[in-house]
């Protein structure tokens, strides 16, 4: 999986785009593509990246499985509480995705800082 800040950026951009799209009631064909991408990838990708597995097929499968699981469990929690609406579910899932992206971005930045410090120390 691509390193650096690409994925945290992609998750944040996708989340923001989806929220805006929902606000403007964007219908097919753009909304389904955006929704599918978001639900299959965004909630889980950051957490899977934290594992640093280095196996593309496994990372893909874990990302999809964990992402849809997060979406399903978020829906379940709201359904059980009888407060399910698409908007609330979106907020919960986006929240989880953004937190993951934040942790992932922090890890990337911290790793870079460590390597810079290491280089200076060695120098």
């Amino acid at each position: 999986m691509r390193g650096g800040l690409f994925w945290p950026g992609a998750v944040l951009a996708s989340s923001a785009t989806l929220m805006v799209a929902e606000g403007f009631d964007l219908g097919p064909p753009l909304a389904p593509i955006l929704a599918l991408w978001f639900l299959l990838v965004c909630p889980g990708v950051s957490y899977v990246r934290l594992l640093r597995l280095g196996e593309p097929l496994t990372e893909f499968l874990l990302t999809v499985a964990f992402s849809v699981s997060i979406g399903a469990l978020a829906s379940l929690a709201l359904l059980a509480g009888q407060v399910w609406t698409p908007g609330r579910t979106l907020l919960v899932v986006v929240g989880i995705a953004v937190v993951g992206a934040g942790i992932d971005a922090y890890r990337v930045v911290a790793t870079r800082r460590e390597s810079v410090v290491g280089v200076k120390w060695h120098a």
Partner: protein, 641 residues
């Protein structure tokens, strides 16, 4: 006795001349062209009792045949993953995309019922675990909640807008998951690909439609993949001794050295260790990358466990059966001593139990006594599994026999493959355990006659892995032309069985736009507590406002009632539908797909629904609300109401 046995080391794909390259890419290209040419030539209205098989043109079969030959040639010649993977992707597209493209409506009646649960959530924003009808889905609602969320997010009015594509998506994801599992079990790519192909063309039981079980099955495979890759270890000494004894004494296979072949030449000889490390963090006897736990950070393992629990929770709350299979699989691995983390099955077992007494408590509580009664009774899970061949049409009997034959063929291939695998000294208990464990379902409870299908489905990935060794027992045997031909022919025979078993009931599973329109009229216009009499339950039903209706499928009535209805259709239906004490309104719907099902399965005499329909059409007591080529909807005439 000393034998030398070659071992395959994955080699780089060789550079081929341009002509060969054209040949290699030409086969999948020709297959897809043939498939695309086939699609407009398929006349769905001409479908007979043999389902889609009766209308598929020769070019469709030629496309599949070409793909099969191309696939096995590519695998045997050690082509790269993109080339071989392309064949598999095209196979999934042809087998599972064809109906989605051709039909334009969602295939299979149960998929429509699932759409109805999504619709319920969209309208109400909650679930009703104690609802009278289809309560099981309200007790395991995660999949439906997710789909309702997606439907709204995507701007669709109903999940019917996209559910037709579910088999293609699920089969694609499931294929990726099984490939990932096979990669853990062997480094021999020929086995990985052959097993994936075998799985794809023998997975005919149709649990891939828009359903929680397909969703949960994909998640199940991902969890099993993680467990096999990171949380299994070498089996205890006595297990190894037992398998070694079986291999050497029963199979008479004694190898002390083996050849390492790379680029088609002997690269080295290798001494087999006295006690081979069968499994070490997912590595099989020197055939996968030597990854050990020490190389993985503790945080990574902890993260993986969190993902297992998260995905496990989604499985547990989506489908009643899959978590039991998952826990059983993990217990099976633990019992033979290869599970590394014994707390995971405990945690998932506890989560499953917790969900059963809380979220699904309403369902489990109401059925606990029935379930306890049949637990251990093997016959309870066989009763409804098979159609009665004495009553079904000749074509449907053939379709049923092909399905059963395919199961038998898989069993034989699995046994042959396992024996050949043992001879290669690569025996690994994990796939064997995971093939056997689903059998526990037979005695584990009552699954409405679907147990055998579920056992087959859950055992299939690992049976396919074992069976693939029958196709490629050793490098030298697969290199010659004859074995490739034999393997390709075997692949095509299995494919033929799959086509019968999977597409043989399409006359029942396909719904025309007319049928959907008629059903939609009923479901949109029915008020609360409406009686809906159906020829059979096999039509696009319950996909909107489903909870407003009380359903009475004529085909499920007792034989005596059938006789009474056929003797006096107008009288009986008028009597049923005029019951305004119990029901606010009443409809009767008869569709083409209902007739197809009733005639094919023989639950009523052939033409029964036509007789009822014609009698009602001729009667002034009934008002025809909708009447087209494929469906008729009746109400009582205004005078009679």
């Amino acid at each position: 006795m000393t034998l030398e046995r070659p071992v395959t080391v994955p080699s780089q794909p060789r550079r081929d001349p341009v002509g060969r390259s054209v040949m290699r890419h030409g086969i999948p290209a020709a297959a897809i062209v043939l498939w695309l040419v086939s699609l407009p030539r398929i006349d769905l209205t001409a479908m007979t009792d043999l389902g889609l098989l009766s209308v598929l043109p020769l070019s469709f079969y030629a496309a599949l045949g070409l793909l099969t030959v191309g696939f096995f040639v590519s695998v045997a010649r050690g082509r790269g993953p993109i080339e071989v993977g392309l064949h598999l992707a095209l196979l999934v597209l042809m087998l599972h995309g064809t109906t989605a493209i051709l039909y334009g409506t969602v295939r299979y009646s149960w998929a429509w019922k699932h759409i109805g649960i999504v619709d319920f959530i969209q309208r109400n924003g909650f679930i009703e675990p104690e609802i009278e009808f289809l309560d099981v889905y309200h007790n395991w609602p995660s999949f439906f909640g997710l789909m309702a969320f997606f439907t709204e997010l995507a701007g669709f009015e109903s999940a019917a807008s996209f559910a037709a594509w579910a088999p293609l998506v699920f089969n694609g994801l499931i294929l990726c998951a099984v490939i990932a599992i096979f990669k853990v079990l062997t480094a021999d790519w020929r086995i990985v690909w052959a097993a994936a192909w075998l799985f794809s063309i023998t997975n005919w039981v149709g649990q891939d439609y828009f359903s929680p079980q397909a969703f949960a099955f994909f998640l199940y495979l991902v969890v099993i993949g993680i467990l096999l890759r990171w949380f299994t270890r070498r089996p205890p000494r006595f297990i190894w001794s037992l398998t070694e004894w079986f291999r050497s004494r029963v199979l008479q296979a004694h190898y002390v050295r083996r050849l390492v072949i790379s680029e088609g030449r002997v690269a080295a000889t290798e001494q087999i260790p006295p006690e081979p490390a069968l499994v070490d963090a997912g590595a099989t006897v020197g055939r996968t990358a030597p990854i050990t736990h020490a190389l993985w950070e503790r945080s990574t393992m902890l993260g993986l466990l969190c993902i297992v629990l998260g995905v496990g929770a989604a499985i547990i709350t989506s489908h009643p059966l899959t978590p039991l299979m998952l826990v059983a699989a993990m217990i099976g691995l633990a019992v033979v001593g290869v599970a590394n983390v014994k707390k995971v099955p405990l945690a998932l077992g506890a989560l499953t139990a917790a969900w059963m007494v809380t979220g699904a408590g309403a369902y489990v509580g109401s059925r606990f006594a029935d379930a306890a009664e049949v637990t251990g009774d093997v016959t309870s899970n066989f009763g409804e599994t098979f159609i009665d061949l004495s009553k079904s049409s000749a074509s449907q009997s053939l379709v049923a026999l092909m399905g059963r034959g395919l199961v038998g063929a898989v069993a034989v291939i699995t046994v042959v493959g396992t024996v050949r695998w043992l001879r290669r000294r690569e025996f690994d208990l994990r796939p064997v355990v995971l093939t056997i464990v689903p059998l526990a379902l037979v005695v584990g409870g009552d699954y409405g006659g679907e147990a055998l299908f579920r056992i087959y489905l859950f055992a299939l990935p690992f049976a396919a892995f074992l069976g693939a060794h029958a196709f490629f027992p050793g490098r030298e045997e697969a290199r010659g032309r004859a074995p490739i031909l034999v393997v390709a022919v075997a692949g095509m025979v299995l494919m033929a069985g799959f086509l019968f078993a999977y597409f043989g009931k399409e006359r029942q599973y396909y719904f025309t736009a007319d049928e959907v329109a008629a059903a939609e009229y009923v479901f949109q216009n029915g008020v609360d507590n409406t009686l809906l009499i159906e020829g059979s339950a096999n039509y696009p039903s319950q996909f909107v406002n489903y909870e407003r209706f009380v359903y009475v499928p004529i085909s499920r009535e007792p034989v005596e009632t059938h006789a009474r209805i056929l003797a006096d259709p107008v009288g009986v239906m008028e009597y049923w539908m005029s019951n305004d004490v119990d029901y606010a309104d009443s409809y009767l719907i008869i569709t083409r797909s209902q007739k197809a099902e009733v005639d094919a399965t023989g639950v009523m005499p052939p033409g029964s629904l036509d007789e009822i329909e014609n009698a009602l059409l001729a009667s002034p007591l009934f008002e025809v609300v909708i009447h087209n080529d494929n469906a008729t909807v009746f109400r009582l005439a205004e005078v009679d109401r």
